[in-house]
C-alpha cells in the first residue's frame, strides 16, 4: 500500500474478539494502515457512503467484510458497495467469514467480491491466514478514488 494517500481499512465484523484478533495479526504482518471497525452493517454503510472521512468522500479504502452480521447480511453490503455509482464500487472487498458453503462463496464472487477467505477455526491457521492477508494487502494496488471522482 504505497499509495500517496493512506488507504483506510474498513473492517465490518460483528464479533469483537475476531476483530481484535484480525487487527493484531494484520499489525503483526506489518500493515500499519488505519483500521476502522464496525460491528453492524448500518453504521458501516453510513461511514462508507456519507462520512467525510469515508471512502466515498475521502479517498481510497479496502473493505474486510464478515457475512454474518446482526442487522443485515454481508452479501447485502457487498451488493450495495458493488452496485453504487460513486468511486466506492471500485473499492476492493475481501470477504472474511466462517461460512464455507460453496453456493455462498459463488454468490459473493458473482456480486463482485475481490477475495473470499474462510476463517479457519484452528487459531494457528487463522493467525497465519490473516498474516498472509496482510502480506497480500501490502502488495495490492488500490484505485485512487480521488482521480475517479474527478
Amino acid at each position: 500500500m504505497n499509495a500517496p494517500q493512506s488507504v483506510n481499512i474498513v473492517m465490518i465484523e460483528d464479533d469483537e474478539g475476531h476483530a481484535r484478533l484480525i487487527e493484531k495479526n494484520i499489525r503483526r504482518a506489518g500493515i500499519m494502515n488505519p483500521i476502522r471497525h464496525f460491528t453492524d452493517g448500518t453504521t458501516a454503510l453510513d461511514y462508507i457512503f456519507n462520512d467525510t472521512t469515508g471512502p466515498q468522500l475521502n479517498g481510497p479504502a479496502l473493505v474486510l467484510l464478515d457475512l454474518n452480521l446482526p442487522d443485515m447480511s454481508g452479501t447485502d453490503i457487498l451488493a450495495k458497495i458493488k452496485t453504487s455509482d460513486g468511486p466506492v464500487k471500485r473499492t476492493p472487498v475481501v470477504v472474511l467469514t466462517t461460512t464455507d458453503d460453496s453456493r455462498e462463496i459463488q454468490r459473493c464472487y458473482d456480486l463482485g467480491a475481490n477475495v473470499y477467505i474462510t476463517k479457519p477455526v484452528n487459531y494457528e491457521s487463522f493467525a497465519q491466514a490473516i498474516r498472509q492477508l496482510g502480506l497480500f494487502l501490502s502488495v495490492i494496488q488500490v484505485p485512487d478514488l480521488g482521480d475517479a471522482r474527478g
Binding site: 464479533d15 474478539g17 475476531h18 477455526v121 484452528n122 487459531y123
Partner: protein
C-alpha cells in the same frame, strides 16, 4: 372432504326392485304364452269341428241324393218296367241308404237335436222304402197301372217332401252350430289379442321402469365414483402435503445444524485465538519470573512464580484440549449436516469391488493387527450412491479393525444376500463386541460403548445410520460382549432418483 354416498342400502333396494320387475316380466310372458297355447288348442278343436260339420252336411246330402236317386229309379222302372239298368240303379241306391244313415248316426251321436231328426228320418225312410217295395212288387206282377196309381197315392202321403225337410233342417242345424262355433273362436281370438296387448304393455312398462332404475343407479354409481375419486385425490394431496411438511422439517433441521455449527465456530475462534495470545503472554511472564528469580529473588512471591510457571500453563492446556474437542464435535455436526444436504446420485455399484477397495486403504492397519478380511460368497450388486455407500462400509470396517480384542487375531467377514427388492450386507468381526444394552445407543451422535480406550468422538456409527436412512435403508447390530459384532445393512435394491435436494 366429499361425503361418500351410502351405497349399500341402495344396492339392496335396487336388487329387490330389479328382481320384482323381472318376475313381473316373466309372469306376463308366461301368461301370453299360456294364452297362445290355449288359442292354438281351440283353433285346432274348431278346425276339427268345422270338418265334422262338413262331414255331417255331406252325409245328409248323400242320404238326400240316394233318396232322390231311388225315387227317380222307381219312377223310371214304372215308366219302362223292362229296363234292367234302371232297376239296378234303384237297388244300388236303396242298398246305399242304410250305409249313409249309419254315417250320419255315427257323426251326430253327440247331438240330441240331430238324433231326434235322425229318428224321424228313419221312420219316414222306413215308410218310403215300404211304398217303393210295394211299387216294385206290383210291377213284378206286371201291374204297371196299379203301380202308377199306388205311386200317385204315395205322392199324397208326401214322404219324400218330409224327408227333404228333415234333411234340410239337419243341414241347417249343423250350419247354425258352425256359426255359433265361429263366433266362439273369434271371441277367444279377440281375448288372445287382448292378452297379448296387455302382456306387451306390461313388458313395456317393466322395461321402462327397469331402464329408469338402472339409469338412476348408474347415475348414483357415477356420482359415488366421482366422490371416491375426489376423496382419493384429497388423500393424495394430503399425503404429498405431509411429505412436503416432513421434507421441510428435515431441511429445517439440516439448516439449523448448519447454522448452529457455524455460529458455534465464531466464539470458538475467539477462545482459541485469545488462548494463544494468553500463551504468548504467559511465556513472556515466565521469562520475566525467571529473570526476577535470577536477579532479585526476593521480588517475586511464591504465588506469582506458581501462577506463571504452573497455573497459567495448566489452565491454558485445559482450555486448549476442551476447545479442540469442541471443534471436533462441531465439525462432526457440520459434516452430518452436509451429508444430509448432499444430492444423492444413484449408480450401479459392484459392492465386492468396493469392499476390496476399502480393504486396500485399511491394509496397513489390517496387517498391524493381524486381521484377515474375507468376503464370504457372492456380494449382490446394488444401485445406490457410491460416496454414501463407501462411507458406510468404511466406517463399519474401520470400527471392526478398531475394536478388536487385544491378542486375538482379527477376522472380518463380509457377507451379502439379496431379497425381493432389498439387499442385505453383514460385516461381522470377532472383536470385543457391544453390550446389548448399548445397541441403540452406539448409533447416537457422540455416544460410545465399552472401555473408552480408543480415540474417537462417537460420530462414525451416527454418520453410518444417517447415511443408511438417507439411502432408504436400515441398520441393525447383533452382538454380545466379547463375542464380536455383526452389523447388517439393509438397502433398497434400487435407490429412487431424488429431485435435487436443496
Amino acid at each position: 372432504m366429499a361425503q361418500l354416498p351410502d351405497a349399500a342400502p341402495t344396492n339392496r333396494s335396487l336388487a329387490r326392485r330389479m328382481t320384482a320387475l323381472m318376475a313381473l316380466g316373466f309372469i306376463a310372458l308366461l301368461l301370453v304364452g299360456y294364452a297362445a297355447v290355449r288359442v292354438m288348442q281351440r283353433n285346432e278343436l274348431h278346425t276339427g269341428l268345422v270338418e265334422h260339420t262338413y262331414q255331417v252336411e255331406r252325409a245328409v246330402l248323400n242320404v238326400r241324393r240316394l233318396v232322390e236317386e231311388s225315387e227317380a229309379a222307381r219312377r223310371g222302372t214304372m215308366l219302362i218296367p223292362g229296363r234292367d239298368v234302371t232297376r239296378a240303379n234303384f237297388f244300388r241306391a236303396r242298398a246305399q241308404v242304410p250305409v249313409a244313415l249309419a254315417r250320419i248316426d255315427a257323426l251326430t251321436r253327440d247331438n240330441p237335436a240331430q238324433r231326434r231328426y235322425l229318428q224321424g228320418l228313419r221312420l219316414q225312410l222306413g215308410s218310403l222304402l215300404a211304398r217303393q217295395d210295394r211299387t216294385l212288387a206290383l210291377l213284378g206282377q206286371g201291374d204297371q197301372r196299379g203301380a202308377i196309381v199306388a205311386y200317385g197315392d204315395d205322392a199324397e202321403v208326401r214322404d219324400v217332401v218330409t224327408i227333404r225337410n228333415v234333411l234340410d233342417r239337419m243341414a241347417l242345424v249343423e250350419r247354425r252350430l258352425m256359426t255359433h262355433r265361429d263366433a266362439e273362436l273369434r271371441a277367444s281370438q279377440r281375448a288372445f289379442y287382448t292378452l297379448i296387448v296387455l302382456g306387451g304393455v306390461v313388458l313395456a312398462v317393466v322395461a321402462v321402469i327397469s331402464t329408469l332404475t338402472i339409469l338412476s343407479y348408474t347415475r348414483d354409481l357415477a356420482r359415488s365414483d366421482e366422490a371416491l375419486r375426489q376423496l382419493n385425490a384429497g388423500l393424495e394431496d394430503m399425503v404429498s402435503a405431509r411429505t412436503e411438511d416432513l421434507t421441510r422439517a428435515n431441511e429445517e433441521i439440516q439448516r439449523f445444524a448448519y447454522i448452529v455449527s457455524h455460529d458455534l465456530r465464531s466464539p470458538l475462534v475467539n477462545v482459541m485465538g485469545f488462548t494463544a495470545e494468553l500463551e504468548t503472554a504467559a511465556a513472556s511472564l515466565r521469562a520475566l519470573v525467571a529473570r526476577v528469580d535470577a536477579e532479585a529473588p526476593a521480588v517475586a512471591s511464591e504465588e506469582a512464580r506458581l501462577a506463571a510457571t504452573e497455573d497459567l500453563p495448566e489452565a491454558i492446556g485445559f482450555i486448549r484440549t476442551s476447545t479442540q474437542k469442541m471443534d471436533r464435535l462441531i465439525n462432526a455436526i457440520l459434516q452430518l449436516s452436509r451429508q444430509g444436504r448432499r444430492a444423492l446420485t444413484p449408480e450401479k455399484i459392484d459392492v465386492a469391488a468396493l469392499i476390496g477397495q476399502i480393504g486396500g486403504t485399511l491394509s496397513h492397519r489390517l496387517a498391524e493387527t493381524e486381521t484377515e478380511l474375507t468376503v464370504d460368497g457372492v456380494l449382490p450388486g446394488v444401485v445406490s450412491d457410491r460416496l454414501a455407500l463407501d462411507q458406510i462400509f468404511s466406517n463399519l470396517m474401520e470400527n471392526a479393525v478398531k475394536y478388536l480384542r487385544p491378542g486375538v487375531p482379527g477376522r472380518i467377514t463380509v457377507t451379502g444376500r439379496r431379497g425381493r427388492d432389498r439387499v442385505f450386507y453383514t460385516i461381522r468381526d470377532n472383536g470385543r463386541g457391544i453390550d446389548p444394552r448399548d445397541h441403540q445407543r452406539v448409533f447416537d451422535l457422540f455416544r460410545r460403548s465399552g472401555a473408552q480406550d480408543r480415540p474417537g468422538e462417537g460420530i462414525g456409527l451416527a454418520t453410518v445410520r444417517a447415511l443408511v436412512f438417507r439411502l432408504g435403508g436400515s441398520i441393525d447390530v447383533a452382538s454380545e460382549l466379547g463375542q464380536g459384532a455383526a452389523f447388517t445393512v439393509s438397502l433398497p435394491l434400487v435407490l429412487a432418483k431424488q429431485e435435487l435436494n436443496q
